[in-house]
Amino acid sequence: MHVEEKLTPETFPAEPEKATLEGKNKFLGFWFFLGGETVLFASLFATFLALRDSVANGPTAQELFKMPIVFLATMLLLTSSLTSVYAMHHMRNFDFKKMQLWLGITVLLGAGFLALEIYEFTEYVHEGFKFSTSAFSSSFYTLVGTHGGHVAFGLLWILTLMVRNAKRGLNLYNAPKFYVASLYWHFIDVVWVFIFTVVYLMGMVG
Amino acid sequence: MKKWLRNWRLVSLVSAMALLLAGCGKPFLSTLQPAGEVADMQYKLMLLSTAIMVIVIAVVTIIFLYVVTRFRRRKGEENKIPKQVEGSHTLEIIWTVIPIILLIILAVPTVLYTFKLADVKPMNKKERDVVVVNVRANLYWWEFEYPDYGIITSQDLVVPTGERVYFNLKASDVKHSFWIPAVGGKMDTNTDNTNQFFLTFDDKRAEEAGRLFYGKCAELCGPSHALMDFKVKALPRGEFDQWVEKMKNAKPVASTDPVVKQGEEIFNKSCIGCHAVTPVDGRPEQARLAPNLGNFADRERIAGILEHNEENLKAWLKDPEKIKPGNKMTGTYPALSDEELEALTKYLMTLSVQ
């Protein structure tokens, strides 16, 4: 099937992201990339676990964490994962407008998460929990910050895709791009679930 | 008859290897001339693994030589197409199973010795009756503290022979590694934690090695890593106890020699901030910034590497950077005139516990 071909809901394949060789490559390659990312985060988690009690003279997790904010942020991100599933559902049904709409909601929720995280970080810094305060602080900001960086990159990526393709609609050239971006978004979400558990919940328990 | 032949071959092979290995190196430095329980265990493992490996190499070499001579393409064979063999399950099983057996033979003593060498229980008992030395590695010198005797020495480690000597190992600046090759393997001195292990110095073999073993830093630690040597005096228990007593009771002797007196003044002005002059030093380790000089005159080497004489001491005091690049003493005291060098040297050479 040729990538630039104009398609209708009838001719649009069931799995548009894997309909072309390029799409298949992108799909598989991105899964491998996520495999590498998993190892990356695993290393960050391991280090965090090794250093989380090394607070030096700085605050401990219990003294610091603002659970209401974190909980709200978690809800936003989890919901955004769900909305991106809707978007992909509409993509497969060749409903471009609805896909864009749900992607838009995903981006808004993601932006909300990011804003809350930035707010959370500034609060911590004001309370004397700087990056250079202790080994715990360094590993906390690096782990959570790396995730936050991924969220920011994901937002820019999805936005770029939405704007670039706003007038063109769906085809087999851009369908894999949308699909892979949503895959990335799910991955970020899964990582956050672990951060919420390992960093925040376990941190509050002590 | 055949069995006899095979045994004889094995024995001769092992002894030939032993001979080859034993001929190597200096008795005060070489791992191939072990001088204590720990080095002995490690040497046994070396011999065992070498013997197994030589068997492997021999088998491969024989097949290898046969193949490359027998099956080379000769004149007139340009168009010969050999039979395309897929493989052989029997052969493949053989060369999977035999190595596994060989490795098990090696793995069992490896695990056994690894646990044996990690047995440091006696040093952590409340009422301990063993010799314990706290080793602190620094850029580029070693401090040896005997916590049970309350004495400290540097650069020259003194140990009793014929018994296990236990060590607490750590570093004060960057990571180093504590290694006395002839007496046993190394252990890292980390900046994060204290490591523990033991060594045994065999009396007879210490005697043969001149009662002086060479110690080395085995972890890259900066420009003078190569020069971070120390010496180990292995004494019979009686002599060791005497040494400890002398160290405990050592007091600076007031000298009447005006040159020595001048040297002492210089020392008290420029050096005493970092160097202590009595082996009993109650300050915390953070305050002990430089080698303890309590028994300086009894040392084996200047700066751990140069022959112990006044000339080398002067050279060291004059420009330590030239002798140990990157050391922490350079530039911490004002330049010394020849006369001051002479005085300081004379003074330092009076610091003895003998």
Partner: protein, 622 residues
């Protein structure tokens, strides 16, 4: 759009290589860049050996020695061996599986440029205050104490080139899974392709821990982090673990492709199918798997305790089994064959005893209790040079001679090739064999000098003499390359005459599109099968038609350049006011280029059927 068979000026050629996404040209880029870094690393090795020729030598200073030593290791592993392995993979693997290109041609180019700029960045440290000086392992306490910017160059340079390697790994994984020609099942893939596949998987899982370690060190050195500062709760052992979780698989990342190269060469020049192919595949996968379980055997003396030491000791020994399987399979590939001693085959044959020595000393190192003696002594130096030089460098030299005609269309001179081989082979054993004994006699590694009277004099002198033999061999090789390039004759598809795999079925060098018609693969050693049935070419799997090709692009170069600029800025951000702005500008260049890549549609172009037919006619006549 087609650029086939057109004469070009120098500028156009340079532009062509800056923008190319063709795996064969990227292979040449990797070969040239990796070759230059190999010479640089070799020069550093010579400085080391000259300094250590006699006791108390003052050829170079202690501080400079540590820089040379660090850069020798770092350059040889990351900037010479890795890219040269990638050169072989790029040159051969797509053709071996019957593909027209790799899965991600654009990312392939990006991978190269990232490696290249990372390597250049690292080496600029020589001119900007001093090179890194904490060893290629850069253990945290020493590297944090290092006063110059050297370690910062190391940290940032390796991050950039590491990304490139990671991208390359993903690319080959997808290529091998998705791009195989019809009939090329997994169990018909040539061994080198298999090795590339497993190696790529190792890269994917081994490089992220290194990246994380480097990020920590960057944070500590440049941005006030405390990961490795015990005073604030940090722990330097974390660096050691992260480094070796990467570092040990890295050994297999290098040596598995070497095994792959030798597997091809043994089969070709014995004129015999690889003995025990399926067990070879199994052994390769098993080595790759076990490679991740053994990292802590580099840390036996750290004080992990006897339980961890014993477990890692036994796990390490286990790797000897699949490696042994391979050695015997190679021997029995030659058994009953018709062996032709070409230059590549000389390296392959010499590799067996050399690598066996490296392998058995590896098992010796694995015996934890005895390793307390070997660790950080010259015994270890000897061991890993037997593995890396006797395994990897021999393989790269063999592969270069073997595939040179396929890459450049000309054969390297066989006589000079054999001269190189003998010089290198003799020099190698002379240099490194004696070092086993130096280590056992108590000589620690990474020493800038040694004192007289410790029994180290003779051994070190012999070792230095050996190094000069290797240097001479390398010079002959360079001369060979120049002579061949100037005077060599063009060769046909199968210049060794015994080629078995698909790359020997296409012209030398292969056309831009590799295969005019995608071939149908009918078994292992696809080309050999066709030859044995008396056919000249491959059985096509498709009719002749237009061929779709990707467009060249300068963006990979720009993306990498941006990171290069950014690294400069951030490296100096504590010293100069311009640091941070320059860093941000660099990142903007990179992100901007990525943005353009994202919004510009790139559908590639087509080479028309007629052009293909014309090109094929020319190729057949050459």
């Amino acid at each position: 759009m087609s650029t086939l068979a057109r004469k070009k000026g120098v500028g156009a050629v340079i532009w062509d290589y800056l923008t190319t996404v063709d795996h064969k040209k990227i292979a040449i880029l990797y070969l040239i860049a990796g070759g230059i870094f190999f010479l640089l690393g070799g020069l550093e090795a010579m400085i080391i050996r000259i300094q250590l020729a006699v006791p108390n030598n003052d050829f170079i200073s202690a501080g400079f020695y540590n820089e040379v030593l660090t850069m020798h290791g770092t350059t040889m592993i990351f900037l010479a061996a890795m890219p040269l392995v990638f050169a072989m993979m790029n040159a051969v693997v797509p053709i071996q599986i019957g593909a027209r290109d790799v899965a991600f041609p654009f990312l392939n180019a990006l991978g190269f440029w990232l490696f290249f700029f990372g390597g250049v960045f690292l080496n600029l440290s020589w001119f900007l205050g001093g090179a890194p000086d904490a060893g290629w392992t850069s253990y945290a306490s020493l590297s944090l104490a290092s006063p110059t910017h050297g370690i910062d160059f190391y940290v940032l340079g390796l991050q950039i080139s590491g990304f490139g390697t990671l991208i390359g790994g993903i690319n080959f994984l997808v290529t091998i899974i998705n791009m195989r020609a019809p009939g090329m099942t997994y169990m018909r893939m040539p061994m080198f392709t298999w090795a590339t596949f497993v190696t790529s998987a190792l890269i994917l899982f081994a490089f992220p821990p290194l990246t994380v370690g480097l990020i920590f060190m960057m944070m500590d050195r440049l941005f006030g982090g405390n990961f490795f500062d015990p005073a604030l709760g940090g722990n330097t052992i974390i660096w050691e673990h992260l480094f070796w979780i990467f570092g040990h698989p890295e050994v297999y990342i290098l040596v598995l492709p070497a095994f792959g190269i030798f597997s091809e060469i043994f089969a070709t020049f014995s004129r015999k199918r690889l003995f025990g192919y399926s067990s070879m595949v199994f052994a390769t996968v098993l080595i790759g798997f076990l490679g991740f379980m053994v990292w802590a055997h580099h840390m036996f003396t750290v004080g992990m305790g006897p339980i961890a030491n014993a477990i890692f000791a036994v796990a390490t020994m286990a790797i000897a089994v699949p490696t042994g399987i391979k050695i015997f399979n190679w021997l029995f590939t030659m058994w009953g064959g018709s062996i032709r001693f070409t230059t590549p085959m000389m390296y392959a044959v010499a590799f067996i005893p050399s690598f066996v020595i490296g392998g058995v000393t590896g098992v010796m190192n694995a015996t934890a209790a005895a390793d307390y003696q070997y660790h950080d002594s010259y015994f270890v130096v000897a061991h890993f040079h037997y593995v890396i030089v006797g395994g990897v460098v021999f393989a790269l030299l063999a592969g270069a001679h073997y595939w040179w005609p396929k890459m450049f269309g000309k054969m390297l001179d066989e006589k000079l090739g054999k001269v190189t081989f003998w010089l290198f082979f003799i020099g190698f054993h002379l240099t490194f064999f004696i070092q086993h004994f130096l280590g056992l006699m108590g000589m620690p590694r990474r020493v800038f000098t040694f004192l007289p009277g410790q029994g180290f004099e003779t051994g070190n002198m012999i070792s230095t003499i050996g190094a000069f033999f290797m240097a001479a061999g390398t010079i002959v090789l360079l001369a060979n390359v120049v002579i061949t390039t100037v005077k060599g004759k063009r060769v046909g598809n199968d210049p060794w005459e015994d080629g078995r795999t698909l790359e020997w079925a296409v012209s030398s060098p292969a056309p831009e599109y590799n295969f005019a018609q995608t071939p149908l693969v009918r078994g292992l050693d696809a080309y050999w099968i066709e030859k044995m049935e008396g056919k000249k070419g491959l059985t096509p799997a498709e009719p002749l038609g237009d061929i779709h090709m990707p467009n060249p692009s300068i963006l990979p170069f720009v993306i990498s350049l941006g990171l290069f600029v950014a690294a400069f800025g951030f490296l100096f951000h504590n010293d100069h006011a311009w640091g941070t702005p320059v860093g941000v500008v660099g990142l903007l260049i990179t992100l901007g280029a990525m943005f353009f890549r994202s919004i510009i549609d790139d559908h590639g172009f087509h080479i028309h059927k007629e052009e293909v037919m014309e090109a094929e006619k020319k190729g057949a006549g050459a």
